[in-house]
Every structure is written in C-alpha cells, then in structure tokens.
C-alpha cells in the first residue's frame, strides 16, 4: 500500500526515537489516536507533557540545548502564541547570542473547517518567518517531509514545520505544473496547494491557463529560476496561503517575486476576521472558488510586459 504523509512522519519519528536517542514531547500524544497516527505508539523517548502550554515547550527547548534534537508536537497551531516564547526567544536566538545551537523540530499542526471556532483553526507560520533564527517550511507530501527532516538533521537551526491536517492522508507528490502560454503563475503554500489545484480546474473552463508552483520552503526563501521563469513567461502571479494575508507569507513572497521580476504578483490568504464555530462563520484557507475568482480578476487586468 502506498504510504501516506502520516505514515512518513511516523516512520521518521520512530527511527529518531529508536536510533538517534531522540525525544518527542507534546500534550495528549498517546490518548487520542497518536496525533492522527503520526507518532509511533509506545516508543521510548515519548514524553507526555502536562497541560502547561508555556513551560512544556520550554522544557523541549531545554532538551534541544543538550543535543537530544526533540520533536515538539503542537496539536493546534493557534496554541503557538502560548507555546513559543522559548522557541522564538531562546531556541531561535541562542546561536547568535551565545553561539549555542538549539535544534528543535516544531511540528505545528493546522486544522480548519470542523466547527473548531476562534482558537483551533488557524495556520500561523508567517510570524515565525518574521522573527530571526528559524527555518520555516510547510511540507504537504511524503518526499517533502523527508527533505524537511534531512535538512533539520544536517543543520543546527530550530525548525518550524507548518503541517496541515488536510495533508496527512496525502500519498503522492505534488509536482509543479508549468505549461506553454500560461496566463498566470500561482505560488501556493500549505493546504492552499490543494485548493489551488481545484481552482485551476475551475478557471480552465474559462480558458485560463495556469502554472502552479508549490512552495514548501518559506524561510530561507530562495528566488530560483524554478520560481522566476514561469512567472516571467506568464507575466502575472498570485501567491496563495492558508495563513492570514496581512503581513503574511503570501504578501511577503509576492513582494519578493514582484521586485525581482517587475511583474504584478498578488497575494491571497485567510480573511482578516475571527473564525466562528458555525459553518457559515468559519474562516480558513481560501476556497477553490475564491482562488478561482482571484485568478480571474488578475487575468482580467491584462498581461503586463516586463519593463
């Protein structure tokens, strides 16, 4: 049977715990399905944290100081405002301040769309891009997760891994789509990648042709030809993210792409309002319909030639 992303995370974790003397720390790890089956049951090195949302992650950071390369599981990304003081202020800064490396692997899981209300449905990687000292990425496929892990193990930096529950069942890879005579290039992040692929099918009916570039690395962010060439040939761009738009990854990356290419690149992220419990009040990843509308709006502006 083809492995899912959840299987991949679990097997990477198992190897880390069994062979590397690694640690995994988090709340409610064992009791409810081992974090969507991403944690190997009953391995040594699993620490059930008390519900101390400030101290718990701090304890994980302390274990990173002495080289255990802990995996810290955050079951809902919204908790990071509580969880991240020692991650942002210590793990991410100690290398600059003390020459002390603090390699911690933060698995921050986003969720949405289940009536979860205002503090269980966000996706918040952007604020970690904002602060110095962390690598930030959002792997959505098995091979991307393996790459993430390999980079973590090959380096000494703390890493913020923005996961999304929508991706845990993902089996294959998600290759970029680059076509001739595309009207627009869409750069997508996190669960917005799934919605983008649906949106591309929707706008196809209007004769709009799209390139799709999947963005997994958010920081450090490299402006490679893989990103710029399709943008330059299509003449317009759109960055779509599951996180909020304002001051978020989408706006920041759109800015980088725009200044590098001189082409119009728009940003689309989560709406600027609180999520509610009832379905009609929820806020989440831009829907495929919303992305499709954004694509149509940009394409309508007309193709700009690079100046």
């Amino acid at each position: 049977m083809e492995r899912t992303l959840a299987d991949t995370i679990r097997e990477i974790t198992r190897e880390h715990l069994e062979k590397n003397n690694g640690l995994l720390l988090g709340q409610a790890i064992s009791a409810v399905g081992w974090v969507n089956n991403t944690v190997p049951p009953d391995c040594s090195g699993i620490i059930e944290l008390p519900m101390a949302d400030v101290a718990g992650p701090g304890i994980a950071v302390g274990a990173a100081v002495v080289g255990r390369r802990p995996i810290l599981v955050i079951r809902f990304q919204d908790f990071i405002f509580l969880n991240s003081s020692l991650v942002i202020n210590y793990a991410a800064k100690a290398k600059d301040v003390f020459g002390q490396v603090v390699p911690i692997f933060v698995r921050a899981i986003a969720d949405e769309g289940k009536g979860l209300g205002p503090v269980h449905s966000a996706c918040l990687h952007s604020i970690f891009m904002h602060m110095p000292g962390m690598r930030v990425c959002a792997p959505m496929t098995p091979e991307e997760y393996e790459e993430t892990w390999a980079v973590f193990m090959a380096n000494d930096d703390p890493m913020y891994v923005s996961e999304h529950r929508r991706s845990f069942g993902q089996k294959g890879e998600m290759p970029d789509i680059v076509i001739d005579n595309a009207d627009i290039t869409i750069f997508s992040i996190s669960a917005a990648r799934f919605s983008t692929l649906e949106a591309v099918e929707i706008v196809k009916q209007d004769g709009i042709r799209c390139n799709v570039i999947h963005l997994m690395w958010l920081k450090p962010f490299t402006l490679s030809s893989r990103l710029l060439e399709p943008l330059e040939s299509s003449g317009r761009g759109l960055v779509v993210d599951s996180d909020f738009a304002i001051c978020g990854a989408a706006q920041s990356i759109a800015y980088e792409l725009m200044t590098a290419s001189g082409l119009p690149v728009k940003a689309l992220g989560r709406e600027d309002r609180s999520s509610g419990a009832a379905h009609h009040l929820e806020v989440g990843t831009p829907s495929s319909l919303k992305i499709a509308q954004a694509i149509k709006d940009i394409v309508k502006i007309g193709k700009k030639v690079r100046t």
């Binding site: 409610a28 409810v32 059930e48 008390p50 209300g117 009040l281």
Partner: protein, 299 residues
C-alpha cells in the same frame, strides 16, 4: 476508598432544607435532560459543531449556583452545565448549538464558547485555563463583584492558572475557583501528566481549599462557607460520562452522582417531589428542543 466520597462530612445533607436540596436537584436535571436531548439531536445529524458534554458533572455547578448569585462567571469549554445551572436561557444555548444568529454567541462560539451578559457569564475563547487570569482580572477591576471561575484538572496545570490564583490571594480578590476534576485531559489521565495535586499547592500558600467529591451538599456547604472568605478553591472529583468531545462513551462511569443524589433524596422522603421535578424539567427542555429544531429545516 472511592474519590466519590472524598472529604465527606457525616449527616451534612440533613442540615439543608428540602427546598435547597430540591433546587440543586432541579438544576442538575436541567443539564442532564438538556444534554440527553442534545445527544439525540447530535445523533440525528442536526448538530454540526463539536459538543462538549457535562453529563456526570452536573452537581458541581448546580450546587455552586444554588449558593451564590450575581457573580461574574468565567467557565471553560465544558460549560453547558454552568450556563444552565446559573439560569442561562436554554433557548439561546440551543440556538447557539444550531449555529443561529439568535444563539448566545450568535453562532460564533458553539458549545465551548458560551457567553451571556444576562447572567454575567463572560465568553470563553477556547484556550484552556486562560479563563482563570481573566476571572482574576475581573475581580481586580470590579472589587465589589464576586467572581466564580470554573476550570478542569488539566487547566489547573497551565502556567498561568496557579500564578493567577496566587495573585488573587495576594490582593485578597473575591474569586471562587472551582476545579471540575474529572481526572482527564481529553483522554489522558492525571497520573500520566503529573504527580501533584493543585489543592496541595493552594493550601500551601494559605488559600482556603477543599478537595472533595462531587456531592452537591458538600459543594454547597463549602461554597457557602468560602463565599464570605474569598479567594478560595474548591477541587471537586467527578466523573465525566462521555468522551472529551462528542457523544461517545468508553467505559461506564465509576459513579453517577445524579443517581446517588436521587437515592439520597429518596432517603429523605423527598422522592415524590424529586420525581415531579425530574419529569417536569425533562418535559420543559424537550419541548424547547422540539420547538427550535424545526427552524433548521425552515419549517
């Protein structure tokens, strides 16, 4: 010894009037039958939001609410019982669970984020235990009002909970802290999380503390005693019947306080009055549900 009887005081229940005993029971019935009808609606697919059930824990807020009134209320996610026991309008809670604009949080909150200015119940956003510093801040800002703060045994572990209790003690703030200690954080038992009791911590700093079962007479006794000497802490050992979220059940609960209370009322010769209250309350909430549910289908 079962934790059900922790801190028992012999013949305590007899010192309460029949009216007080039956009033506590009535408030327990409200939650029990409200939620039993909710479970049916949920299983019928009519409730689309996650629900956090209080069944099994009803006696705690029922007893506290019978003894104090006019307090600001800061509860946690498992708060149908708090809302109903303190006189919240059940229709507004039904509407909230149905996601209607007429719900107590206009559909924004669902089951875990109930608010109602009519009963001074301040909404809980969903981050566990943060209701405790909020409650303490309210007591600081409104020193003439009483404040009651309900939270769980897992919430008690949050960094900011004990710190807030300590602040309340330092500043002699009028807060009654009530821990609904069901021994569980989602499904993780306390023994997997910690080796200490929050009641020992509060005692050690000199806060009036009772670590007891969920016998409503015992809870009412301490609520009355502590309310003139706040801040104080009541830790109540209780049994949640259902899963953390949703209607599932793993094992039968170790005890069911609702049944034990009925037996006690029976022993006091109050069974016919209790039966009448139970039947009337059940009918009352069922009628409300039956009136509101058709709104969903536009009938």
């Amino acid at each position: 010894m079962s934790l059900a009887t922790l801190g028992e005081i012999p013949n305590l229940a007899e010192s309460f009037s029949a009216e007080e005993s039956l009033e506590m029971f009535r408030r327990m019935c409200l939650t029990r039958y409200f939620e039993m009808r909710l479970i049916k609606a949920y299983k019928d697919g009519l409730i689309k939001v996650p629900i956090y059930l209080s069944i099994g824990q009803e006696s705690i807020s029922a007893a506290v609410a019978t003894m104090i009134s006019g307090y600001y209320i800061f509860a946690q996610h498992r708060a149908h019982s708090v809302y109903l026991a303190f006189g919240g309008n059940p229709v507004k809670l039904i509407d909230e669970l149905l996601g209607l604009p007429t719900g107590c949080s206009a559909g924004m909150g669902g089951s875990p984020s109930i608010q109602d200015p009519d009963i001074k119940m301040i909404g809980h956003h969903g981050l566990i235990g943060e209701n405790v510093p909020l409650a303490v801040g309210a007591a600081l800002g409104a020193p003439d009002a009483g404040v009651v703060s309900f939270f769980g045994d897992a919430a008690a572990e949050e960094d900011y909970v004990f710190a807030s209790m300590g602040f309340a003690l330092t500043h002699k703030l009028k807060v009654l802290f009530v821990c609904e200690d069901n021994n569980l954080s989602i499904l993780t038992p306390k023994s997997d999380r910690r080796s200490w009791e929050i009641a020992d911590a509060t005692r050690s700093i000199g806060m009036p503390t009772a670590d007891i079962g969920d016998d409503p007479w015992l809870i009412a006794h301490y609520t009355r005693q502590f309310s003139s000497n706040l801040p104080a802490f009541l830790n109540c050992r209780t049994c949640r019947h259902h899963w953390h979220v949703g209607t599932g059940i793993d094992n039968p609960p170790e005890w069911d306080r609702f049944t034990l209370v009925k037996e006690q009322l029976d022993a006091f010769g109050l069974s016919s009055r209790a039966d009448k209250i139970e039947a009337e309350t059940k009918q009352y909430v069922e009628n409300l549900w039956n009136e509101r549910l058709p709104i969903l289908s536009g009938k």
